[in-house]
C-alpha cells in the first residue's frame, strides 16, 4: 500500500524527531535498513562507544541477534529492555514478530494484546498516529480503510471524512482515497435507504471523486478508462 520512498521518509522523520540530529546515528540507521550485513557488528560497536548504556543501542543489539536468527536470545533481550521501558512500541512489535516467526501464534497474540492494551483497538491506534503526525496522508487513508472494514453507518461517515482528508493532503491524486469516497457513498446509500435522503454535499463529493478518477485514468491508464466508467456507474446504481 505504501511506496518504498514514502516508508523510508516516514521512518527518517521518526528517527530525526526521536534523536534530534546526530549524523552518525542517522547514517547507521540507514545502513541497518538497507541491510548491509557486513558492517553490522562494527556499527553496533561504534554506537556502543559513542552512547554507552543507551537503550537504543541495546535495541540494536537485540535486533542484530534477531537478524542472525538467534530468536530465543533476541526475545530475552527484548523482554529485559521492556522491563525498563514498557512503552517502547518498536520493541513490543519486534517481540511479536519473533513469536510469529517461530510459529508461536498464541504467544504472539498474547504479546500483541499487551501491546494493544495501550491502545485498545486498531482504530484508536490510528487516531493516535494522526494526532501525532496529522500531515501524513497514509495514516488517514489506513484509518479510513479500517473504519470502512469495521462497517456501520457511523464508521462509514467517519471513513468518508478521512478519505476526504487524504485527498486534501495528496492534492487529489490518491486513487485509493478517491475510490474510498465512492465506496462510502454507495455503502451509506444502501444502509440509509428509507431513512434521511443523502445530503447534497455528499453526492457532490462522490461526483467530484468520480470525475477526478476518470481524469487520472484518462491520463495514466487510458486502456482501463471504459472499465473504470462502468465500475463507477455500478456504484451510482446502488445509491
Amino acid at each position: 500500500m505504501v511506496s518504498k520512498t514514502e516508508e523510508e521518509q516516514v521512518n527518517r522523520l521518526e528517527n530525526q524527531v526521536e534523536n534530534g540530529g546526530g549524523g552518525a546515528w542517522e547514517y547507521l540507521c540507514l545502513v541497518r535498513k538497507l541491510k548491509l550485513r557486513r558492517s553490522d557488528k562494527e556499527c553496533v560497536k561504534v554506537l556502543q562507544k559513542k552512547f554507552p548504556e543507551s537503550k537504543r543501542v541495546g535495541r540494536l543489539e537485540a535486533m542484530l541477534l534477531e537478524a542472525k536468527g538467534l530468536l530465543a536470545e533476541a526475545e530475552k533481550a527484548y523482554s529485559s529492555l521492556l522491563e525498563e521501558n514498557q512503552f517502547d512500541q518498536v520493541i513490543h512489535k519486534r517481540r511479536v514478530a519473533i513469536a510469529k516467526a517461530q510459529g508461536n501464534l498464541s504467544g504472539a497474540i498474547e504479546w500483541l494484546n499487551k501491546y494493544l492494551e495501550m491502545y485498545k483497538q486498531a482504530a484508536f491506534c490510528y487516531e493516535e498516529l494522526i494526532l501525532s503526525q496529522p500531515t501524513i496522508p497514509l495514516y488517514h487513508l489506513a484509518y479510513a480503510d479500517v473504519l470502512y472494514t469495521l462497517g456501520g453507518l457511523e464508521n462509514l461517515h467517519a471513513a468518508k471524512k478521512y478519505y476526504a482528508a487524504t485527498i486534501d493532503l495528496t492534492g487529489g491524486k490518491n486513487i485509493r482515497a478517491l475510490f474510498g469516497i465512492c465506496l462510502c457513498a454507495s455503502a451509506i446509500g444502501q444502509l440509509a435507504k428509507g431513512r434521511n435522503k443523502e445530503d447534497k454535499e455528499s453526492s457532490e463529493l462522490q461526483s467530484l471523486s468520480a470525475v477526478a478518477l476518470e481524469k487520472l485514468y484518462k491520463q495514466q491508464s487510458p486502456s482501463n478508462l471504459p472499465l473504470l466508467s462502468s465500475t463507477l456507474r455500478s456504484f451510482k446504481l446502488s445509491l
Binding site: 500500500m1 505504501v2 511506496s3 510469529k100 516467526a101 510459529g103 489506513a142 479510513a144 480503510d145 479500517v146 470502512y148 472494514t149 462497517g151 486513487i175 485509493r176 475510490f179 474510498g180 465506496l183 487520472l216 485514468y217 495514466q220 491508464s221 486502456s223 482501463n224 472499465l227 473504470l228 462502468s230 465500475t231 455500478s234 456504484f235
Partner: protein
Amino acid sequence: MSGDSRYEIHQNAYLKLVLHALKHRTSAVNGVLLGRSSADGATVEIVDSVPLFHSQIGLLPPLEIALIMIEEYYGEKGLSIVGYFHANERYDDFELASVAKNIGDHITRYFPQAALLLLDNKRLEDLPKGKDRSPVMQLYTKDASNWKLLGSKGSNQLTVKEPSANTVLLDYISSGKWKDIVDFDDHLDDISKDWLNSELFE
C-alpha cells in the same frame, strides 16, 4: 456435490498465481480465479487469474474495488469468479487463513463449486528435484458449512491443462520472471500498471 467436481487450471492462470507469491515472499498474497463450469457440470475450468494484494489483505475497500472491476471486465468475456487463491506468509503454515475462508464463503454464494487454492510451499520447493506435474497447490471446496481439503498430491482433482506447466514455471523462476508480475495493489499505487498482466507471457 462439489466434492465430485474436477478442477482444471490453465497454465497462464497457474503461473501468475505462483509468480505473484514468489515476488512477495515475506508476506501473504491472494488472488481470484476466473473461469466457468463445463457444459456437463463435472469440471470447473479455471481459465485465468488476477493477483490481488500483498499487503493489508484483510481490508475491505481495495478488495471491493478489485472484485467489481474484475467482474465487469471478465463478465464481458463470459467468465465469472470461480475461486480464490491464497499463499500464507510463512513457509510451513498450511492453515487456511480466516480471510481466505471469508472471501471463499462470499464466492460460494454466487458459485457453489468455488475452489479455494492454497500454495503448497514445500512442493514448490521440491519442484526442481522431482517430475511433479501437478500444481503446487492444495485444493479446498466447501461442503455444507466447512472448507474441506480435496487431497493434494496424487489426487487427480486439480490438474493443470498443459502438462509442461511446472517446467515452464521452473524456467521462469530461474529467469526471475516474477519481477514483472503486477497485482491490484500495484495498480492502486500506480494506475499505469496493468493488473491484467496482458503482456506478461508475450
